[in-house]
C-alpha cells in the first residue's frame, strides 16, 4: 500500500519563480504529452462521476440529463432513511466487513508466522502458491465453487452430513448462516495475499534479534510474542486502520455472486453496494440509488480521512498523505 506523496516537494518546485505552469508546459511538453492519455482517462472515469453526486439531490429524469433535472433537496435521503433498508444495509456492511477485517488480519498474521518457520524453499513455494491461487479467481467462478459445496442435493457438504447420519441443510435458504459462510469464503480468497504482506514485514525484522533471543534461551513461541508481534504491530495497526477506512465499501462480487443473488438471503447479505446496484438496475430508482451511493461515498470519505489521521500518528511513513 504505497502511496506516499511528495506533494510538498512538488509544490515547492512549482512555486519557485519562473517555474510557472505555462513554462513547464513548454519546456517539459513531452512529459505532459505522455502523461496526457492517463490523465484524461482519470478525468472521464473518476472526476466526471464525482460531479454526478449532485444527482442525489435531484429528481433525475433521463431526458433532462443530470444538470437539467429538477432539484429535490434532501427528499431522496428522507425517503431512503425512512425505509428499514437503510439501517439494514448499513448494519450488514459494517458487521460483515468487521468480521472480514478481524479474520483476515488474524489469519494473515498466523499464516505468515508459520510460513516463516518453514526452511524448505520448495514447501514455502507450494504453500504460498496454493494459498494465493483463490485470489486470482473471479467471484463468478467462486460462486461455482461454493455451489459445488453447498448445493442442497449435490453439494459436498450435504453429502458429508449425510454420511455422518445428519440432516441435509438448505444452505441457500438459511440467511442466519451466511455471515459465517461469507466470512469463510472471504478468508479463503484473501488470506494468501494478506500473509504475503505480513511475511514481507517479518522478513524485514533484524535477524540478530532472534539470534540474541535464542542465545538467551527463548523458544520460538516466546520469540514470536516477544519480538515478531511487537515489531510487526505498526504494520498490523496501519493495515487494520486502512481497512477500517474502507469499511463502508463492500466487495460487490462476494455479496452478489456467492449468494447467487438469492432474495431469501438479503436480510443478512444485502450491503450498500448491492442495494445501490439493485435500485439502479432493477427498480430503476435513480434518486434512491444515488442517495444511498452519496451516503456511502460521503461517510466512506470521512472514515478514510479519520483512519489516515490515526495512521499518521502511529506510523507516519505509511500514512496515505
Amino acid at each position: 500500500m504505497d502511496s506516499q506523496l511528495d506533494t510538498g516537494k512538488g509544490l515547492k518546485a512549482a512555486s519557485q519563480p519562473g517555474r510557472s505552469f505555462l513554462r513547464s508546459l513548454k519546456s517539459q511538453k513531452w512529459l505532459w504529452l505522455i502523461a496526457l492519455p492517463g490523465l484524461a482517462i482519470v478525468f472521464v472515469f473518476n472526476y466526471l462521476p464525482m460531479f454526478g453526486v449532485i444527482l442525489a439531490f435531484k429528481n433525475y429524469k433521463p431526458a433532462a440529463g443530470i444538470f437539467g433535472s429538477q432539484w429535490a433537496g434532501f427528499e431522496n435521503f428522507k425517503y431512503l432513511f425512512s425505509t428499514r433498508d437503510a439501517w439494514n444495509i448499513t448494519y450488514n456492511t459494517l458487521f460483515l466487513n468487521s468480521l472480514f477485517i478481524i479474520t483476515g488480519t488474524v489469519g494473515g498474521i498466523l499464516i505468515a508466522l508459520l510460513v516463516n518457520e518453514v526452511r524448505n524453499k520448495w514447501l514455502v513455494k507450494f504453500y504460498q502458491s496454493s494459498m494465493f491461487l483463490p485470489y486470482f479467481i473471479s467471484w463468478v467462478i467462486v460462486s461455482y465453487f461454493v455451489y459445488s459445496l453447498l448445493s442442497y442435493d449435490m453439494g459436498m457438504v450435504n453429502n458429508l452430513l449425510a454420511s455422518l447420519g445428519m440432516e441435509p441443510v438448505q444452505w441457500y435458504n438459511e440467511p442466519r448462516l451466511w455471515p459465517a459462510i461469507l466470512t469463510i469464503v472471504n478468508l479463503w480468497k484473501g488470506v494468501g495475499y494478506g500473509s504475503v504482506i505480513y511475511l514481507a514485514g517479518i522478513m524485514g525484522i533484524d535477524a540478530e534479534l532472534y539470534e540474541a533471543a535464542t542465545i538467551d534461551g527463548a523458544n520460538k513461541l516466546q520469540q514470536a510474542s516477544g519480538i515478531t508481534l511487537p515489531l510487526l504491530s505498526p504494520l498490523i495497526i496501519t493495515l487494520t486502520l486502512m481497512a477500517i477506512g474502507r469499511i463502508f465499501f463492500a466487495d460487490f462480487g462476494l455479496f452478489y455472486n456467492v449468494t447467487l443473488d438469492n432474495g431469501g438471503l438479503y436480510s443478512t447479505t444485502n450491503v450498500i453496494d448491492t442495494y445501490v446496484f439493485r435500485a439502479l438496475k432493477f427498480s430503476g430508482d435513480i434518486g434512491m440509488a444515488s442517495a444511498a451511493g452519496f451516503y456511502q461515498a460521503f461517510v466512506g470519505f470521512l472514515l478514510v480521512l479519520a483512519s489516515n489521521l490515526f495512521v499518521k500518528k502511529i506510523n507516519p511513513e505509511r500514512a496515505l498523505f
Binding site: 506523496l5 512529459l31 505522455i34 466526471l48 445501490v276 451511493g293 461515498a297
Partner: protein, 293 residues
C-alpha cells in the same frame, strides 16, 4: 536434546497445518475440475466429488461440438484482455514515469490529482450514467475496456518502483540525446520487470475476470465475455430452481452439470497458466510497493 525434540515436533505440526490449509485452498478447484471429467448422471446421483468417479471427456466434447456461444465469449474476453492490458500498461507506465521524474515541475499536484480518486469517488450511479448515457457506450466493447485503463493504485505502485531507478541514468541518456519515450521504453521499463510483471498480471486478471462491466453495460449476447456468460448460466440455473414451475421449464437450454464445470475450468485455466508464468516476479514485485511504504 529436549529442545531439539520439541522443535522437530513443532516443525512437523507447522508443516502439517500448512499442508492441510493449502489443500483446503485447492479443494474447490479439484471439485470443479473432477466434476468436468465426470458423467453427468454420476453427479446428479452422487453429488460432486473431489476425484472423478467415472472419467469421461464428454463434457468437453459437448462444448467443442457446438462451440458457438463459448467460442464467442472466449473471443470477447481475449480481445478485451489483450487490448486492455496493452493499452493500460502503456498509459499507466507513461503516467507513472512522468510522476516519478524528480525534475517534473508539477508532479506533486498530478500525484494528488491521481491519488484523490482513491479517497473519494462518485459511486456507481454517476459512473453508470456517464458511460451509458453521456458516452453512449452501452453494448459497445469499449465499455469493457476503458473504465479499467487506469487504476490509480497500480500507477502509484509503478511510480514508486521507477523512482528508485537512479536519476543519473535518465540524465545521461538525455545528454546522449534520447527522447522521453525512448528513456521510458529503453531504460526504465527493462529495469522494472518485476513491477511491470506484477502490475501486468493484475491488469490481465482484472480484464479476464471481469463480469461487472458486462453486467452494467452489455445486453447484446454477442458481446458477452466469458465470466459474464458463466454468471448468466448460474443465474438461469438458480432462477429455474426457485421457480414454482420447476420441472415444466425445459432445461435443454442449460448446459449439464459437467459441461458447466468444464466451462469454469476453461475460464480458470489461462489464469493459472499466467500465474505460473510470472510467479518468479510476482511476490517480489508485490512486496516492493507494500514494504517500502
Amino acid at each position: 536434546m529436549k529442545v531439539k525434540d520439541g522443535s522437530i515436533v513443532s516443525k512437523v505440526l507447522i508443516n502439517l497445518f500448512l499442508t492441510v490449509f493449502s489443500v483446503c485452498c485447492l479443494i474447490p478447484f479439484m471439485i470443479v475440475i473432477s466434476s468436468s471429467f465426470t458423467q453427468e448422471q454420476m453427479i446428479i446421483e452422487n453429488g460432486y466429488s473431489i476425484f472423478p468417479r467415472q472419467f469421461t471427456l464428454l463434457a468437453y466434447k459437448y462444448i467443442l461440438a457446438d462451440p458457438g456461444q463459448i467460442a464467442r465469449a472466449y473471443g470477447v474476453t481475449i480481445m478485451v484482455t489483450v487490448a486492455g492490458t496493452i493499452i493500460s500498461l502503456v498509459i499507466s507506465s507513461c503516467l507513472a514515469y512522468v510522476l516519478s521524474r524528480k525534475d517534473f515541475a508539477h508532479r506533486g499536484k498530478l500525484s494528488l490529482y491521481l491519488f484523490f480518486t482513491m479517497l473519494f469517488n462518485g459511486g456507481l450511479v454517476p459512473s453508470y450514467i456517464i458511460v451509458a448515457q453521456v458516452l453512449h457506450l452501452k453494448d459497445n466493447i469499449l465499455a469493457l475496456i476503458l473504465p479499467y485503463l487506469i487504476v490509480p493504485f497500480y500507477v502509484l505502485l509503478l511510480r514508486t518502483y521507477f523512482s528508485d531507478i537512479p536519476f543519473s541514468l535518465v540524465e545521461s541518456a538525455k545528454i546522449e540525446g534520447a527522447g522521453e519515450l525512448g528513456i521510458l521504453f529503453k531504460i526504465i521499463l527493462p529495469l522494472s520487470l518485476p513491477a511491470m510483471a506484477t502490475v501486468g498480471l493484475f491488469i490481465v486478471l482484472q480484464y479476464w475476470n471481469d463480469w461487472w462491466l458486462a453486467l452494467l453495460y452489455i445486453d447484446d449476447a454477442n458481446l458477452n465475455p466469458l465470466q459474464y456468460m458463466l454468471y448468466l448460466i448460474m443465474q438461469n440455473l438458480n432462477a429455474m430452481r426457485l421457480s414454482p414451475l420447476q420441472g415444466q421449464i425445459s432445461t435443454a437450454a442449460l448446459p449439464g452439470e459437467n459441461a458447466r464445470m468444464a466451462m469454469a475450468v476453461l475460464a480458470i485455466g489461462p489464469i493459472i497458466f499466467a500465474f505460473m508464468f510470472v510467479q518468479k516476479y510476482f511476490i517480489s514485485g508485490l512486496t516492493v510497493g507494500a514494504v517500502k511504504g
